[in-house]
Subunit: 171 residues, 2 copies
């Protein structure tokens, strides 16, 4: 039931459907539109819920190369590759369009923060000088997302450059 709905939304978003409404989703999921109207306030709420679920489902293994620069570069590339996938871009846009109060404290940001924290912690234990976790989020993650959202190019070279930049802040 719920998974059918999530799947339907995922398919529609992936297909780039321009018309995503409760009736449309309901038909695809094989449920009654009323169910959706009763469970979610509006389409955006559902869309955002699915987006969060999709974006936080990380099968991503965290790099552990023995060097923070390597770790961050691989990590940035993984993220770059991930968020530039067409359906992810759509999800991102959906999230941005969603209501503010729901987006704040969204699990996506938290996941990234934890991952960054882990890599930094390992690096510091190795005695490396590192930037802070907020710095990594601000200067690697933010630019990546920014580029995606504004349809600017995101490639390996760009990711590499961001990591290089943030490492100049290491203390």
């Amino acid at each position: 039931m719920l998974t059918a709905i999530y799947t339907a939304v995922g398919e529609l978003v992936g297909e780039g459907a321009d018309r995503i409404s409760f009736p449309v989703i309901a038909e695809r999921a094989g449920v009654n539109p009323t169910t959706l109207y009763r469970r979610w306030d509006d389409v955006n709420a559902l869309l955002e819920e699915v987006a969060v679920a999709a974006l936080t489902r990380d099968g991503e293994s965290l790099p552990d190369t023995g060097s923070l620069e390597q770790d961050l570069t691989q990590w940035a590339n993984i993220i770059a590759r991930d968020i530039t996938r067409p359906e992810r871009v759509r999800y991102l846009r959906a999230m941005v369009s969603a209501r503010v109060d729901i987006v704040s404290g969204c699990p996506v940001t938290e996941t990234r923060r934890e991952q960054a924290s882990k890599m930094v912690h390992r690096a510091r234990e190795r005695g490396e000088a590192t930037p802070t976790v907020p710095q990594i989020l601000d200067h690697v993650i933010a630019p990546l997302y920014h580029h995606v959202v504004f349809a600017l190019p995101v490639d390996h070279e760009y990711a590499r450059r961001l990591v290089h930049d943030v490492l100049t802040m290491a203390r």
Copy 2:
């Protein structure tokens, strides 16, 4: 006529109207919905047009304090104050939801790039070591927008910190 439409859109967006459609805009503007249907492909197109107009209308004077750090800090604060205004946030979201090909090469980004370029140029003429223009966009503008989009706090201290960070990249 056209200004009435733009004004209507501006009001509706500012009020946080959840229901922004051609009929609604038309009534507010005192025009016939048909006019809107004929002139714009869809609501997003109109919304995005107004957004660009509003975001690029810069009465913002570019700081010129004699120091890049001061300039960037003031500039970042101006932008931070500007983009955290409720209607600006809405416009941002509208723009992001708009079609990709329209967003890319959007005037807003260009304006920021030119402004950054101007300040960097002046600083270099003074003999200051400066970060590059892309670095400023990536590490000051991107994080600011990122925070706004994800409803994270954007205050003076944050802006100051971003500028401080980017200046460590000066060469």
